[in-house]
């Protein structure tokens, strides 16, 4: 069935495009009804509470935002570092970056206690807040990447694509630093409070972004009945492997550091060897499905010749990424704050106990809306504009020989 779907305007009329729109629209409809339902009844209908204040919507939102900045990397390697293979993919990379950021932000906004006051968030800034800085970075990201896309698509403006691309690259590094620091700057909580969060989120973003790009690219090639060239597969899969390995490395360093500090032992025991969902998600989801298995697949002898293996590995990285966000965001809150070190603590407000969180269908629908938003924007854009990578293999081979 997939072969019947064609995503360029040149494909003419087809039902596949409209079916995709309908699918995305259906999910969005669910998201919006969840939003109005929650807006009316309040967050009491969610599983979030005064202990777990950020839940499933934030898992999806932060994942999309981090992946959005990472997916732009493909363009940066092309524009900033001059690699032809990646340059051909710059427009799609920029588009995905905008679409995914829009999706992530939509979820964040829909989950606010007072979404009707979005204008307040845009007009009142506390410049000491890293969260406020994030809003500035998000808005700037839209502007800069939008401009970058224009320089790529307009022949007259083409010379500008390099400097604007560089700006976009630097901006996205700042953006992900700020996103990681949302957690890194939480001074009181055992699970956060580490400068490692900024670089770690950048590395995660490299991996999640490239994985998302590879998945979308594979689907587009498939639907357009174009066979993926082995040379493209070989180079991009190696890059993904490097990013995934680097992500694992940062994860190891973060936990090794914690394990060296006696005051962090309880938290590490809870996360790495606890009898809870977070331990399972960490080892099975983040490390195994999102790290080790994709690495084994990407380095397997057949991977370079098999786009399917790379596609599957990228998909696993995305799944592992969601597990990582759940562990980081929800797991970090589930572990109780230690108000009185060296004391056992009990109270009516759940002091001293692991906080429980069981998400409701409403917040799941909110979260999926982010993916649906990104999906809809991408589907429409690739339909009306040319985003399919156009490779010139002579140049790519030359580049590969030069090293």
């Amino acid at each position: 069935m997939a072969n019947n779907v064609c995503l360029g305007r040149e494909c003419g009329k087809n039902t596949g495009f409209w079916m995709l729109l309908a699918l995305g629209g259906l999910v969005m409809l669910g998201t919006l009804s969840a939003f109005f339902y929650l807006e009316h009844h309040g967050h009491i209908m969610t599983g979030m509470n005064n202990q777990i204040v950020w839940g499933l919507p934030h898992v999806f939102a932060v994942f999309l935002i981090v992946a959005a900045s990472g997916v732009l990397n493909v363009a940066s390697i092309g524009s900033v570092f001059g690699k032809k293979l990646y340059k051909a993919r710059a427009p799609l990379s920029g588009l995905l970056a905008l679409a995914m950021l829009a999706g992530g932000l939509a979820v964040l906004v829909l989950d606010l206690g007072r979404p009707d006051r979005l204008i307040v968030a845009m007009t009142h800034y506390n410049f000491k807040s890293i969260f406020a800085w994030n809003m500035i970075f998000y808005n700037g990201f839209f502007a800069i990447v939008g401009l970058y896309l224009i320089t790529l698509m307009d022949h007259k403006l083409k010379p500008w694509s390099k400097p604007v691309g560089l700006l976009a690259f630097l901006w996205r590094l700042a953006l992900t630093t700020a996103t990681g620091s949302i957690f890194g700057f939480l001074v009181a909580r055992a699970g956060y409070n580490s400068a490692l969060y900024a670089p770690m989120f950048i590395i995660y973003s490299f991996a999640y972004g490239l994985a998302a790009f590879l998945v979308v690219q594979s689907v587009m090639y498939k639907w357009n009945n174009i066979a993926m060239d082995e040379r493209i597969v070989a180079r991009m899969k190696n890059l993904l492997a490097v990013f995934v390995a680097a992500g694992l490395y940062f994860t190891v360093v973060l936990h090794l550091t914690n394990m060296y500090f006696a005051k962090q032992w309880e938290f590490e025991r809870f996360l790495l060897a606890g009898d809870n969902i977070y331990t399972t998600l960490f080892w099975l989801g983040q490390v195994f499905i999102g790290g080790i298995v994709p690495l084994l697949m990407l380095f397997s002898p057949n991977a370079a010749k098999s786009p399917a293996i790379v596609f599957l590995a990228a998909l696993l990285v995305l799944v592992g990424g969601h597990a990582q966000m759940y562990v980081t965001i929800v797991g970090g809150q589930a572990f109780p704050l230690d108000l009185f070190p060296g004391y056992a603590q009990t109270s009516s407000f759940f002091d001293g106990e692991v906080h429980s969180y069981s998400p409701s269908i409403w917040e799941l629908m909110l979260g999926l809306g982010g993916i649906a938003t990104a999906f809809l924007i991408t589907t429409v854009a690739v339909r009306v504009l040319k985003f399919l990578p156009q490779d010139d293999f002579k140049e790519i081979e030359l580049e590969a020989k030069e090293g």
């Binding site: 204040v53 206690g113 969260f131 994030n134 009181a188 704050l337 108000l339 407000f349």
Partner: protein
């Protein structure tokens, strides 16, 4: 916003004051002379902004705090219109925490609430500036610009804040609160501004425990300033160097 601002026009100020004194005197003679006298004698004039000459603070003596007693919690709920329910989604501005030393077995019980830090993490992280510290050290949420992002709840080391999860009705006219905003202990700012102590402190005194002393830390003559000078007191999570307005004695 933290710096106190004098009201713009002195002329109007004077007008307001005379009006106020007149009406207050009228009300006082008409209703409850004794009580109002106390108010007029000590409270700052209503038209005057709070200043950083005052820093409101509290000392909790855990030796006097009675195990099982929750009078302070009940008083807080009554004063501020909280339901008193203790589910995971219900607001609790003050709670009793029972602690036991894992090495020595020593047990204590104490009230825990917003510690009104000099350097409050909730204020640092708030994207809109809704979380703020008043000039006199009271940390508050301006619900008019709170967007309900809950980042302050992530940042607070004391778990002092609650998010209003459902629509509310019949609020206390002096304590507006509603769905979608974050809230926490205000030191009963509406009472402090008319020179009364917070409801929890009053309740603790009434119960005869007198475990909580409230007052101006900057005024060397105040009970609380004398007490923190005389006894060894600690800040909860003192390692964070937030210089809390609430201090504890006996732990």
């Amino acid at each position: 916003m933290n710096e106190p601002k004098r009201p713009e026009s002195n002329l109007e100020n004077g007008e307001r004051r005379s009006f106020l004194v007149a009406s207050a005197a009228l009300a006082g003679s008409a209703v409850a002379p004794g009580v109002m006298l106390y108010g007029i004698a000590q409270a700052k004039p209503a038209e005057e902004a709070v200043t950083n000459k005052v820093r409101w603070g509290m000392l909790v003596d855990t030796n006097k705090c009675a195990t099982g007693c929750t009078d302070c919690v009940t008083a807080c709920n009554t004063e501020n219109g909280l339901s008193g329910k203790t589910g995971p989604q219900d607001s609790q501005w003050i709670r009793k925490v029972d602690i036991k030393n894992l090495q020595t077995g020593a047990q204590h019980t104490l009230p825990m609430m917003c510690q009104h830090c000099e350097h409050p993490p909730c204020v640092d992280v708030c994207p809109t500036g809704a979380s703020f510290k008043r000039a006199d050290g009271i940390v508050l949420v301006d619900r008019h610009i709170c967007i309900g992002c809950r980042y302050c709840m992530m940042a607070c080391p004391y778990k002092a804040r609650s998010f209003v999860h459902e629509p509310l009705t019949d609020q206390n006219p002096e304590v507006p609160r509603g769905k979608g905003c974050v809230e926490s202990c205000t030191f009963c700012v509406q009472r402090v501004d008319r020179d009364q102590s917070p409801a929890c402190v009053e309740a603790c005194d009434k119960a005869g425990h007198k475990a909580m002393v409230f007052g101006d830390l900057n005024n060397p003559e105040s009970d609380v300033a004398k007490a923190v000078k005389a006894y060894a007191t600690t800040e909860v999570r003192g390692d964070l160097r937030l210089n809390t307005g609430v201090r504890y004695q006996g732990i």
